[in-house]
């Protein structure tokens, strides 16, 4: 028997989808594992990024929404409050909130800083020359929180100096600061969700788009399209290996964060994984979309890297506080998927919120993914006819 015998063979219209999918996925894994460059990007990038971003980034804040709870209501507190109001950094909200209400507002994220005067503030200051005031800031964004605390402390110190008369008597106001959610002001806490968003975005989008475009360049895509393998399945089988690899990658980042940077994961790890899988699918869809509109690997890489990395860096809000940006930038941030994923990870990982705290962001991500994926699939089909 030789290779050239008994031709042709009638192949029934059997269900061959599963077999095709298996063959394709297997091939895709072989290719990824043999491509040292891809592996380096995939697993080298998180380590480099985490080291790079480990250095805290300073940032300036303006017009911070500050809650003042004045339980003393005396001439001193009034003077301090007026001083704060006069500064351009804060927009003051003098609501009569109890501590529990303030804590709740922080959890919701509507408030980033608060100043609390205890009820005997004025009395203490006049009688003993010493009084305490509490400053609370949202430490899950440590750069902003530190700046807020510094500004408030400076204003209080300034007032204290003003108050102390030339004649011997000194007054001392002791600000007691508290960083909610990140008591130690640990900078790495904040950038880890950002780096996670960034890395998943780059790895998933760039690698998927490049791997599809590569097949176009080599001419193998043509062969696949002539085969009975459906275009839809081509895209799906391209996505599966990268989904698996990205989840592995995500695990590496989490392990690095926990064991190398001492980050405590407050919320449910399962929820974090599910949300991340969702975001990975968003990025894969974006990668497929990019591969539809580009014909060379270089272009695909350029769009994925330059076109996505920089907006991700800027608009997620982990490097530069979004509060300071013009409204147009803030509006743009709303259409960046990474922005929503960043919010989700921050809430789950740092604040320990459950699904009820992130369902809105999750829905937005699901919506974005659906749109991206259906556009990618539709474009892919149009190209064929």
């Amino acid at each position: 028997m030789t290779f050239f015998t008994s031709w042709p063979v009638e192949r029934a219209d059997q269900q061959i989808n599963m077999k095709q999918l298996l063959a394709f996925t297997k091939k895709e894994f072989y290719q990824v594992i043999r491509d040292k460059r891809t592996l380096l990007i995939m697993f080298g990038l998180p380590i480099v990024q985490i080291i790079l971003f480990g250095f805290a980034l300073t940032s300036e804040v303006k017009n911070v929404h500050l809650i003042i709870s004045d339980n003393s209501k005396d001439v001193n507190t009034l003077q301090i409050i007026n001083k704060i109001k006069a500064s351009p950094y804060f927009s003051v909200d003098e609501s009569v909130m109890g501590y529990a209400d303030i804590e709740e507002a922080f959890k919701k994220g509507t408030v980033k800083s608060a100043l609390i005067f205890p009820s005997d503030f004025g009395k203490d200051l006049v009688h003993s020359g010493k009084a305490q005031v509490q400053i609370i800031a949202d430490g899950s964004d440590p750069n902003t929180a530190k700046t807020i605390v510094n500004y408030l402390t400076a204003i209080i110190n300034d007032y204290q100096a003003q108050l102390s008369p030339a004649a011997g008597l000194t007054y001392k106001i002791i600000p007691e600061t508290r960083m909610l959610y990140n008591e130690e002001g640990n900078g790495s806490l904040n950038f880890i969700p950002g780096v996670m968003a960034l890395i998943l975005m780059i790895v998933c989008t760039a690698l998927t788009s490049v791997s599809v475009v590569k097949e176009k360049e080599l001419g193998t895509m043509e062969i696949l399209l002539v085969s009975p393998f459906k275009p839809f399945m081509v895209l799906i089988s391209k996505a599966i290996p990268y989904l698996v690899l990205s989840i592995a990658n995500f695990t590496v980042i989490i392990l690095l964060s926990v064991y190398a940077l001492d980050v405590e994961i407050k919320g449910s790890i399962l929820l974090l994984f599910m949300e991340s899988a969702l975001f990975i699918i968003t990025c894969l869809s974006l990668g497929l979309l990019i591969s539809n509109v580009t014909a060379s690997q270089q272009t695909a890489l350029l769009i994925s890297m330059m076109g996505l990395q920089i907006p991700t860096l800027i608009f997620t809000g982990f490097m530069f506080p979004l509060e300071n940006m013009p409204w147009i930038f803030q509006a743009i941030s709303k259409i960046i998927p990474a922005h929503w994923y960043y919010l989700i990870v921050k809430s789950v990982m740092l604040k320990g919120l459950g699904f009820e705290g992130v369902w809105k962001e999750t829905l937005i991500l699901i919506g974005m993914t659906t749109v991206l994926l259906s556009v990618a699939l539709k474009n892919f089909k149009i190209r064929l006819s």
Partner: protein, 248 residues
């Protein structure tokens, strides 16, 4: 003419805007035939071939491939044809066996059959020692023979070869054509486009496309006597000279 027809085309056209890339071509291809599909670049060969392979819809006209309609049964067509393009089309970072396994799997060939026939294939190509080598490390001639074998691995009724011997030396080209003959002898139909006129001589029948139309269709010997010339080169030259579309 009782010969079984595996490809039939009647006034098949493809229009892009006002431009007829393929203008009412009509021809039949018989079972087991080696059918040469010739034409200068831009004559419409590739567009015609894409319609027959189920990659694009015709604008008008009729055609069947392996008994299936090109409008309605593209999926069935795809199952019954093989395809090898002018660009090299195997995965360079997979070894020979993995490539066979992949393409076999995509065409739904049973695992057992893949195993048996890939061994036969490697044996017939004399590649036993290279079976585990990455395809990228093989010389071009071997790659092309392998690509052809992979294109017919699932034993299709028809195989479409789009300029399969581009950039290959004459000796390897000759060997490649030996393989084509061997395959054709088993009943598989070969539909091949080429630029080399010596290869045109190897075909049972050839058609020559000029400006989207089929201008000549017969056996090489008949065409030569029809145009009173001695070589296919001259036949082609006489036809292509009148072309209005520029060749690149």
């Amino acid at each position: 003419m009782d010969e079984e027809k595996v490809i039939t085309c009647k006034a098949l056209s493809k229009k892009f805007g006002d431009f007829y890339a393929v203008n009412e071509i009509t021809f039949d291809v018989n079972k087991g035939e080696i059918f040469g599909f010739l034409g200068a670049n831009g004559a419409g060969k590739t567009t015609a071939m894409r319609m027959l392979c189920g990659l694009s819809f015709p604008s008008s006209g009729e055609a069947t491939v392996a008994g299936f309609d090109v409008y309605k049964q593209q999926e069935s067509i795809k199952k019954n044809i093989g395809y090898m393009s002018q660009k090299f089309s195997l995965y360079e970072n997979l070894n020979i066996l993995e490539n066979i396994e992949f393409f076999g799997g995509v065409y739904g060939v049973e695992r057992k059959e893949i195993k048996e026939r890939s061994a036969l294939l490697i044996q017939s190509l004399g590649l036993e020692k290279e079976a585990k080598k990455m395809v990228g490390e093989l010389p071009l001639g071997w790659k092309q023979k392998l690509a052809f074998s992979v294109a017919i691995f699932h034993r299709p009724k028809i195989v479409f070869l789009d300029e399969p011997t581009g950039g290959v030396d004459p000796v390897t080209r000759r060997q490649f054509w030996d393989m084509i003959y061997e395959a054709a002898a088993t009943g598989i139909t070969i539909f091949v486009t080429t630029h080399y006129m010596d290869e045109a001589e190897y075909c049972n029948r050839i058609s020559i496309m000029v400006d989207g139309k089929v201008e000549a269709l017969d056996s090489p010997a008949n065409l030569k006597s029809q145009f009173s010339v001695h070589s296919m080169d001259d036949v082609f030259y006489q036809l292509a000279r009148g072309a209005s579309r520029s060749a690149d």
